[in-house]
Symmetry: C2
Subunit: 460 residues, 2 copies
C-alpha cells in the first residue's frame, strides 16, 4: 500500500481490524492465513511487483491521469490496474496512458470486506483475456465481479444510487422528509426486498400471473406522471448541507462511528448468512467460495482412519452464536456437534446422495457437558470417537477443543439410529456404511472410554 | 372484502396461505387467533360496519373518486378510509368527497404481510386525531406507519423507486445491462446495506471521521457530473417491454411464481429475524410488537406455582429450524429448551436486571432424548419440573409437547450452576431467588421423577 496521508496507517488498520472481526463469520470453512500488509514509502515500491494494482485516489481526472502514469512507469506490464472510480469511464482513465489496455474500472462498495459487488468495466482497449483474468482473481477472493458490457458514466450501481440521492435531496430540501424518514422508507420497505432480489425479480412477482410484460406495460404510464418532474439537480447550498448534517445527527448521533460500523457489519453478516442457509443470491456465492477455500486448504482434506479420534469440525465462534452473557449460547454447542455428526455420517458414506435415496441416521439422545468457556472469534475443533456401533446404531463421542489453547471445552455424546426415512422406521445401514463404521470402530478399539461417557447428569 | 373480479377469492386465498406460512415465523410469542375473512357481494356490505376501509382499486383518479363516493354513502362516519395509491395525493383523492377528512393515503408494500412499511399521508383536511388513530391501528397490527409530513406526488418510497426504475429502463434500453445484471448490482451491493440502514445512515459511516457535512459537500459536485443527464423518460415501446420480459424470463423463468414468493418470504423472514436478534431497525420493531402481543395474550401470563410442571415455552416450529431431512434440526430442540430455561430463570427472579448486576445461571450439563417427530408450523409447548436445587445449583427437567396432539416429543434434563459472572466462579443465588426456587421445588415434591431423568445415554 502507498498512501501519502499522514494518518493512513492508523486508518487502514482500523478498517482491517473491522474486517478481521466480521469477514471470518461468513465462512464455514477455514479461511486462508492472513497475508502481510506493507506500507511503502514510495508508489514505485508499492506497485513494482504487484499482480493487481488498485487505484483509489480522489475523483479528479487530472489526478487519476498523473497517478496512472506513475504506476505504469514502475509496474509489471502484465499487472491489472483497477480503478475504484465511481464515475469515470475506463477510456477516460486511459487517456494519454503508456499502456491503456492495462487499465480498467474495478469499482467496489463499502464495506469492501463484506459487500461482494465489484463493477468491472473494461474499455475496447482491454483484451478479453485481461478481463477474464480480472474476473478470476476477484472470484478467487470471494468477490462478485459484475462485468459491465458497455462503458457508461457511473457504471450501473452508482447511476441507481445517484438517482435515489437526487430524490432524497429534494425531499429534504422541500421538508417533505428527514434523513431518518427517508432511511425508514428504505429499510422498513423496499430495502428488505433488495437485499435478496433486485428491482426486476421483485416486480416479476408483483406482476403475478399476468406476467412481466403486462406489468411493465401497466407500470409504464406512471413514468409520465407528475412525480417525474423534479429531476433537476437541487442546489447544494450551505444551508441544505447543514440541514442534512443536523438531521443525520438527530438520527444516528447516539452511536459513534465504530459502533455504527460494527452494527452494520453484524447485520450484513447475518443477512448474507440467511441467504447462505437458503443457497440463494449472495448466499449461493458464499457457498461456492467455501468450496473454493475447502479445495485450497490442506486442513480440510478427508481425515485418515487411525487410532485417534477423527477431526470432524473446524471453525470459529461466530458473532451470531454469542448470547447476552457474552458467551457462546448453549444451542450453538449442539449446532457444532450436529455439524460434526453430519460430517462423520458423510465420512462413513451417509452423504447427500445416500439421504436422497431414502435412508439416514437420526439422533435419539444427546448428552452435553460444558467444561470450559470459549469466546467470539476463537477457533473450535471437534474430534470424534466411535464408542459403539451395530447394524442400526452408532454411538459417537465428540471432543470440542479450543483450537488456540488446546483446552477441552465441551463433550457431546450422541446415540443415532439408522432409519428408512419414508417408512419412519429403523433399518440396518447398507453394507458399505457398516463396513466403514466397523473399520473406524476397530481403529478406535484401543482408545480409552472417554471420561464422562455413559454418565448420567451430575454423575462424576 | 369486496372485489368484483371473478377470481378474487382464489387469489386472496393464495396470498393468505402465503401469509399463514411466513408471518408466524417473525413472532416469538403466540400470535392472536386468525380472524375470519368474509367476501361480500356488495361494496356496501363490506364497508358498512368497518373501522378501517382500505381502497385498492386501479390507479385511475376518476375510478377512485367513484369508489370513494360509494364507500362514504355506506360507511361509518368515524371509519378511516385508507388508499393504497402509489401516486395520488390525499387531497386529490378527497376531491368532491362528502366527508373529505375521512380519506388518507395508507400505502403498503408487497408482500404486505411481511414488509412493515405503510406510508400514511394525510391532507390538511384530516384531523390530527384521525392520523393518531390510524398510526395506532397500524402499530397494533405490527406495521411501521411512516406519517409523511407534506403531501407530494408518489409520497416518499415510490419517488425513490421511480428514480431507480427510470435509470433501470435506460440501462436496458441502451444495452448497458440486463435485468439480471441490474438486480445483481443491487442485491450483491447496496441492497444488502439498505435492508438495515438507509441511504443517509450508510453514507454517514462512509463519510467517516470528517463527518456528514463534509461528506455531502464532497459528494455534491457529482450531482452535476454527466451521469445526471439521462433523466428524460425513455419511450416504453413494445420492443422495450418485450426485451425486459425476455430478460426476466432468462433470469427467473426457472422458478414458478409460487416458488419465487416462498423464496422471497423465507429470505425476508430471515433478514428481519437477524435484525430482531440485534434489536436493530425492523427487528427492534418486531420485538416491540412481541411485547404488545404478549400483553394482549392471556396464554402468556406468568404461570402460577402449582403441583404441575410450569409452562415455560409456547411457540411454533419455524421454517429456519427445519433441516435437509425435513425435520426440526437437533440444535433447535436445544434452542427451545434453552429459551425455556431462560424463562424459568426469569420466573425465579434471574431476569435481565439480575444478570446485568453480575450473576446468572450457566448450564453445565444437558441430556436430550428425542421421542417423536414434529413438523414445520406445528405448535410446541415446554413444561418444566424442578427435580433438584440447592444454593448454587438447579436441576431442571423440560417436557416438550406437540401442542396440537399432546404427544411428548422430547425431554431435556439440565444441570445449571449459579455463577458470579465477573469472577467466573460459582456462588450462592440471592435469598429471593433461593426462596422462589424452594417454593417451586416444594410444589413439585410430590411429582414423580420423570421417566428418563438421571439416565445415561442408551439406558432405559
Amino acid at each position: 500500500m502507498f498512501d501519502p496521508a499522514p494518518d493512513a496507517e492508523r486508518k487502514v488498520n482500523e478498517v482491517i481490524s473491522n474486517a478481521r472481526r466480521a469477514l471470518p463469520a461468513l465462512a464455514d470453512v477455514a479461511m486462508p492465513e492472513e497475508g502481510t500488509l506493507t506500507l511503502c514509502s514510495t508508489l514505485e515500491e508499492a506497485v513494482s511487483e504487484a499482480q493487481w494494482i488498485q487505484e483509489s485516489v480522489p475523483e479528479r481526472l487530472d489526478l487519476k491521469h498523473k497517478v496512472m502514469a506513475s504506476i505504469q512507469a514502475a509496474c509489471r506490464t502484465d499487472a491489472i490496474i483497477g480503478s475504484s472510480t465511481s464515475g469515470f469511464k475506463p477510456s477516460e482513465l486511459q487517456e494519454g496512458a503508456a499502456n491503456p489496455g492495462q487499465i480498467m474500472v474495478a469499482h467496489p462498495f463499502n464495506p469492501v470486506y463484506l459487500v461482494p459487488l465489484v463493477e468491472v468495466v473494461p474499455s475496447q482497449q482491454c483484451s478479453p483475456e485481461q478481463v477474464a483474468t480480472a474476473k478470476d482473481i476477484l472470484d478467487g477472493i470471494g468477490m462478485k465481479p459484475l462485468v459491465v458490457r458497455k462503458e457508461i458514466d457511473a457504471h450501473i450501481a452508482d447511476r441507481l444510487l445517484e438517482a435515489v440521492w437526487r430524490e432524497g435531496l429534494w425531499l429534504i430540501n422541500d421538508d417533505v422528509a428527514t434523513t431518518e424518514e427517508i432511511d425508514d422508507a428504505i429499510r422498513f420497505g423496499f430495502g428488505l426486498r433488495w437485499a435478496q432480489m433486485g428491482l426486476f425479480e421483485t416486480y416479476r412477482i408483483a406482476g403475478g400471473e399476468a406476467g412481466m410484460a403486462h406489468f411493465i406495460g401497466q407500470f409504464g404510464p406512471a413514468l409520465a406522471w407528475p412525480w417525474t418532474k423534479l429531476m433537476d439537480v437541487p442546489e447544494l447550498t450551505d444551508e441544505l448541507i447543514q440541514k442534512i448534517a443536523d438531521q443525520s445527527d438527530a438520527q444516528s448521533g447516539m452511536y459513534d462511528l465504530r459502533q455504527l460500523e460494527q452494527i452494520r457489519d453484524d447485520n450484513l453478516v447475518g443477512i448474507m448468512r440467511v441467504q447462505k442457509n437458503a443457497d440463494w443470491g449472495v448466499g449461493a456465492m458464499l457457498r461456492e467460495h467455501d468450496q473454493r477455500l475447502k479445495a485450497m486448504s490442506p486442513e480440510q482434506a478427508q481425515p485418515e482412519i487411525s487410532a485417534e479420534p477423527l477431526q470432524m469440525f473446524s471453525g470459529k465462534v461466530l458473532p451470531a452464536w454469542i448470547d447476552y452473557n457474552g458467551h457462546m449460547n448453549e444451542a450453538n454447542y449442539l449446532r457444532v456437534f450436529s455439524d460434526a455428526t453430519d460430517n462423520f455420517m458423510a465420512f462413513v458414506g451417509v452423504d447427500d446422495d445416500y439421504i436422497q435415496a431414502g435412508q439416514s441416521y437420526y439422533t435419539v439422545e444427546t448428552h452435553i457437558r460444558h467444561l470450559d468457556d470459549i469466546k467470539l472469534g476463537q477457533g473450535i475443533e471437534v474430534r470424534t470417537q466411535l464408542i459403539a456401533q451395530s447394524a442400526k446404531k452408532m454411538h459417537l463421542f465428540h471432543f470440542m477443543y479450543n483450537r488456540e489453547t488446546g483446552d477441552l471445552i465441551a463433550t457431546g455424546e450422541h446415540m443415532l439410529l439408522h432409519v428408512d426415512i419414508n417408512a419412519g422406521k429403523t433399518c440396518p445401514a447398507t453394507d458399505t456404511v457398516q463396513a466403514k463404521l466397523t473399520a473406524v470402530f476397530n481403529s478406535h478399539a484401543d482408545l480409552p472410554v472417554p471420561e464422562g461417557a455413559g454418565n448420567a447428569i451430575g454423575q462424576k
